[in-house]
Amino acid sequence: MRYISNTPAQQKEMLGVIGATSIEDLLVRIPAKARLSRPLNLPSAMAEMDLVRHLRGIAAQNASAEDFACFLGAGSYDHSVPSPINHLISRGEFFTAYTPYQPEASQGTLRSIFEYQTMIAELTGMDVANASLYDGGSSLAEGVLMAHAVTGRDGIVLSRGVNPLYRQVVETYVEGPSLRITSAPLADGITDGDALKKAVTEKTAAVVVQYPNFFGCLEDVKGAAEVAHAAGALLIVVADPVNLGLLEPPGALGADLVVGEGQGLGVPMSFGGPNLGVFAAKQELVRRMPGRLVGATVDLDGRRGFVLTLQTREQHIRREKATSNICTNVALCALMATIYVSIMGKRGIRKVGELSVAKAHYAATAFSKVPGVRLRFGSPFFKEFTLQLPKAPDRVVKRLAKERILAGLPLKPFDRQYKDCLLVAVTEKRTRDEIDAYAAALAVAVA
């Protein structure tokens, strides 16, 4: 049997050593009525070549960014993934290793996480970053729970500019401690400052804004920080680190926690997972952080080495009193991001932002020249923008799919007031030709 090493002769020999006549003898503690009396009802085993044929057939039914021009965003982006990433993460020493609990045999993983923590801290402008959480949504949820633990308060003020998919995850996570979520409405695509002030009270644990927000617009993070801090609340900023090569880091604008989705840093879209949950904080909050942290130390000979540290926050030590239940995280995705940032470097990551911004603005101008199409909001945006269409967005999407264009995300399922809106993302990978083809197809579709 494939993937099973012992031969029948060895199995017999081993049973002999054990003093059993068959494997059944080893299963004596399982009562007869607990036993499954038939084989599992599953398709029979496939040879490798048949499996490949089968899965290629299934994969071929999907419209991937390999064959379609992808203008979809909303938390997952078709950014470029440099070739060395896949080669390096495919080294068995990385991807077949366990969590680095035995540090002497895990220095490779520990060093790369230490580098990752440094890169995320640099990009976000924060003091410390953890070794990763699952994704942007669950990172925000963990941030909200942490703000509740730090402040002892139960109120969360969530801007309507936060990705609604993340909001749904937060709603799940706050069920246990019964936190109350209130919404801060938008004015022209960004959080309404006056409404935010009214929503924040002495019971507010955290104010949450996204930068750039779900609709692509650039929030006044500094203003939100002032409102939050005046009430003694924390400011949580949801940010995509790949944008922060060009954008002012939230740490410089007053954020206490920066959370978000790091998939843009060299992690494939893979239908939405695995992703990369980013979590960074101010120094004074480090002992309340969720997830693993790697720290530098020395070995018996005084050599530099790295270990998992401050583990008394974690579930395997503190059990029900842990700061989070997380155990497995997304270490290999964090490694992808580390290699990505190394390759892009100081200048490349800024250039990714510059190209995305330039192309997004070119696209926004081109698309809004189509009769009946306009930008929904006047506020400045980054690499994503919201179009208002004269025809039903889902029909426009269907029409453009025929031209091998993934046109964007219709917003009707999230909020009926945006039922005529389409969210469009443009990364550095989109070409002028693709954008022009989109504009031409859009003109036909809405005519």
Binding site: M1, M14, N62, S76, L123, G137, L300, N329
Partner: protein
């Protein structure tokens, strides 16, 4: 004593940086206005660049190749890590997850253009339901702990739907740490139950704790001592009689494929760790995937969306579930891991999966037999897929479970799980998995026996270990007292 063969490499990528060097390859801007200041107000633009490495592509390749060589992986060393199921990670699974139709698929691609992905998810959920005897499976949880959280939230929602506010969850003292942590996260208080001498649930003790304030009983089957809870039907019946739901931590599923099914044992909920039983790699700590299976009475509460087959044919993401516990992550689950698990189940088929558990059990019992003369057994009789030994005999000679673990690193093996389960003194928890051969197990057992002899003759050898690794034992106290969590220029 082995001689030190430590790699001399001690760099961080930042320390290779040289101003002006780069590895990226980005195109020239092909649209008219390239200057971001023309598009974005200056207040939003970064004033000083992030201090990131400036290195060449060959620097990157060589640095991370060297870092990888500082790791033990399943590919390089036997990894007998109990409760973690460190089995071989098939390469074809990696290839399949990288098919462009999967790897480069955006999660919000319209349904009509993502039918392949939805079909794969639907079939995998159906297969896991068959393997576990549960009625439905959600693939959304990103890891075992999130599967637990989802399961406990569904139990909470079910009680509330019946007008009952139950506040406690019972968990044995032998449980994984995530069990109480996930339970507390879902808003319950945790009541710890004592295990009997075999690490099994004591039905009399359970009976005393079962009342109308208890929402659920959460146990690991087989338990963390590697034993099948033989009174499981009695336990689930006792719980159900008091309206208590029974949750199975599926971390040890590798022991029972095709032999017994949690659904048939009376469990209401169980999660899977695809990165254990179903060969998706551990990746140095993740990503994993933690699908959760449930009985039909809990189906209204499943996380949204649920992958369904439409009457008219084809597949859809169904988000219209008013009683759902909601979403756990932004999208649909760790899809890349789901492709790998799917490929594995199709590769093995029903007979192959059954053979996995048979051989996992055989290998664990073989190790137990070979080591029981030199180490104390934690339990009596045959074990399932893992065995727990105690190093209390060696401890009396001054050699602890940790010393043994470190010495194993020098002898070319990763360490077993140590000091867990918490109820066993100086625990060494060994899980060989079915993918290892008798030859490997013999080498490992020989090493373990050698260490036991050394403990008698020269405990210093284990105290000094490891000496062949890139670093020797590390100062954990210093790391925690003066946390240095990021690189800074010296």
């Amino acid at each position: 004593m082995p001689t030190a063969a430590r790699a001399a490499y001690d760099k961080l990528i930042f320390e290779l940086s040289s101003a002006g060097r780069y590895a990226h390859s980005l195109p020239e801007c092909d649209v008219p206005e390239a200057d971001p200041a023309a598009h974005v107000p200056a207040a939003h633009l970064r004033r000083s660049p992030a201090e990131l490495p400036e290195v060449s592509e060959v620097d990157v390749i060589r640095h991370y190749s060297r870092l990888s060589q500082m790791n033990y992986g399943v590919d390089t060393n036997f990894y007998p890590l109990g409760s973690c199921t460190m089995k071989y990670n098939p390469r074809i699974n990696e290839d399949m997850a990288r098919l462009p139709g999967f790897l480069r698929l955006h999660p919000l691609t319209p349904e009509a253009q993502s039918q392949g992905a939805l079909q794969l998810m639907f079939e995998l959920a159906r297969d896991l339901a068959e393997i576990s005897g549960m009625d439905e499976v959600s693939l959304q949880p990103a890891a075992g702990a999130q599967g637990e959280f989802a399961g406990v939230l569904m139990i909470r929602a079910w009680h509330l739907s019946r007008g009952e506010r139950r506040s406690k969850v019972l968990i044995p003292d032998s449980a994984h740490g995530t069990n109480p942590a996930s339970t507390a996260l879902a808003g319950f208080s945790v009541v710890q139950l004592r295990s009997d001498d075999n690490g099994e649930v004591d039905p009399a003790d359970l009976e005393r704790h079962l009342d109308e304030s208890v929402a659920a009983f959460m146990i690991t089957q087989p338990n963390t001592l590697g034993l099948f809870e033989s009174r499981i039907h009695q336990i689930t019946e006792m719980c159900h009689a008091k309206g208590v739901q029974v949750y199975m931590d599926g971390a040890n599923f590798n022991a029972i494929l095709g032999i017994t099914r949690p659904g048939d044992l009376g469990f209401d909920v169980c999660h899977f760790n695809l990165h254990k039983t179903f060969t998706t790699p551990h990746g140095g700590g993740g990503p994993g995937a933690g699908p959760v299976g449930i009985k039909s009475h809990l189906a209204p509460f499943l996380p949204t969306p649920v992958v369904v087959r439409k009457d008219a044919g084809g597949y859809a993401l169904d988000g219209n579930r008013p009683q759902s516990i909601g979403k756990l992550q932004a999208f649909w689950g760790n899809f890349g891991m789901l492709v790998r698990a799917y490929a594995y189940i199709r590769t093995m088929g029903p007979d192959g999966l059954r053979s996995v558990s048979d051989n996992a059990v055989l290998n664990a019992n073989y190790i137990l037999k070979r080591l029981e003369g030199d180490y104390d057994r934690a339990t009596q009789g045959p074990c399932m897929h893992e065995c727990v030994l105690s190093a209390r005999r060696q401890k009396k000679l001054g050699v602890s479970a940790m010393d043994i673990a470190k010495r194993l690193l020098d002898l070319g093996f990763y360490a077993p799980t140590t000091y867990f389960p918490l109820i066993i003194e100086e625990a060494l928890m060994i899980e060989p998995t079915e993918t290892e051969s008798k030859e490997t197990l013999d080498q490992f057992c020989d090493a373990m026996i050698q260490i036991a002899r050394e403990a008698e003759s020269d405990p210093h050898i284990a105290h000094a270990a490891p000496v062949t690794t890139p670093v020797r034992r590390l100062d954990q106290t210093l790391a925690a007292r003066q946390p240095r969590l990021r690189w800074t220029p010296s």
